[in-house]
Amino acid sequence: MQKTRISIMFEALQARNKKAFIPYLMAGDPDAGTTLQQVLLLERCGADIIELGVPFSDPLADGPTIQKAAGRALKSGTTLRKVLSIVRDIRSQTDVPLILMTYYNPVFKYGEKAFIHDAIHSGVDGIIVPDLPPEEAGELIKLSRQGTGGRRLDTIFLIAPTSTPMRIKKIAAASSGFVYYVSVTGITGAALEIDEGFRRHLDLVKHATDKPVAVGFGIATPDQALKVAQIADGVIVGSALVKVFNETPDQAENLIRGLKEAISK
């Protein structure tokens, strides 16, 4: 079984004592062609891993920015199947590690087995399913580990600031590639405060697992990214990028380069 592009990337970064910059985009916002261009721009600007959101009618874990992005993407006909075809287009141009962040129902409707097979063949490296707790993910984890054609998918689960030590161990054990630490109680795009409580709990997570720990939800500025990069293995930026791409796309490259520079310090 080959290592996933995600694991290879984290090993390479860790060897150089560097942290991963992981931007998030909503696939198909507002259309497939734009997504491809944005992914290529992100890669050019130094994204280490890219997270692609799959639009869903009821995005429970997302704040208004990503909810609206999902609405725009659904309007242009972006289904899970369509996102996989976007991934194939991306793969013809770049090897950047790709993660799909999708709610569970589209996967359930697609069929777990068929989805894992098609995702791997399209060039997806990992999946995040925010509304699927590890207790309910047994089959999905098994199928992802088994993979197909010698390749597998990483399954990345979310740890919350309210997760207990026992639960942190359980979630970390179910995760592969890296562990996703949600920096705030709340939804994407919330306001992040990097205080003592945050540092203490993140420390708890890092001690509970030897897997890389990336932090996301609420990181919007290079200054915040810098602070998080000092204590985590990866920094995930979603809503802030989705917003700039939608509202002021000519400023997107500036923000991306600023984030990359902060995380590389």
Partner: protein
Amino acid sequence: MQSTYIGRPTPLYFAKRLTEKLGGAKVYLKREDLAHTGAHKINNALGQSLLAKRMGKSRLIAETGAGQHGVATATGAALVGLECDIYMGTVDMQRQALNVFRMKLLGATVKEVDIGSRTLKDAINESLRDWTTNVRTTHYVLGTAFGPHPFPMLVRDFQSIIGKEAAAQILKAEGRPPDCLIACVGGGSNAIGLFNEFLDTDIRMIGVEAGGKGIESGEHAARFADGSIGVLQGCKTYLLQDNDGNVLDTHSVSAGLDYASVGPEHSHLKESGRVEYTFATDDEALAAFETLSRTEGIIPALESAHALAEVIKVAPVLPRDSIIIVNLSGRGDKDVQQVAKIKGINLCA
């Protein structure tokens, strides 16, 4: 508190004139409309309010469709002394304006949900988002037997008093158990509340969904008639969804039934065959609304009118000595303005 505040047990009333009009089975109404705040919703809302107080939470949140659960939760919050925010879709706020004002009078803040279908489903999404954010201080009083564990069981248990009382009351009135139970099913809390006590018997049970403008029209909320199994808002259950797993918009004249998914225990009861599920259209429900008002002097909630529409269909074909209990889950005062509007009557003129 059950007897002095909610007013339990609620009566089991023999609807003599309705029975005579239908010419078949004897029809009994379980009068949840007479419970404090006007619907069965108070049974669960008060139970969870007390639970939240006991857990040391300072704030309650809830979703509401028809407004009855919002009113019940605002009532519970006032009673035990907690802050209260109620999420409600803007479409529902318009058609249930009276209940919006009631919630405000009770000291709650009504938060507009102006995204998605702007109805109950989106109000649940917003409530779950709020809860995720404020979980340390806030308890989410989910209003129906739906959502992540343990809500489906918690809400069922708080509502199961309906069936417990009805079982004892019908024995007293008729000396024997009923032959058939009928209740409307939105999320399904009033139905599971009535059915739960009788699940181990062979008594016939019918759950009635919102048929909206008819199944063929696509504008309805009949999950069992037209949906398939999916996973939404923390549970696996029947769902109105497209081929890609996105949730479809729904329609019902009744805000409380206008919802794309249904409590998971009802899906289980559907699959096991224990409960029959059918639907009533908007027109059938509106006709039943008028029939009960005129034959019994009881204005039912539009939700409950769906169950009555099924009674109107099945009672005439059942023998005269058989007994139906229908759950009259709420009173219709909240729907009067909307029914007037449908009939083209301007109440403010």
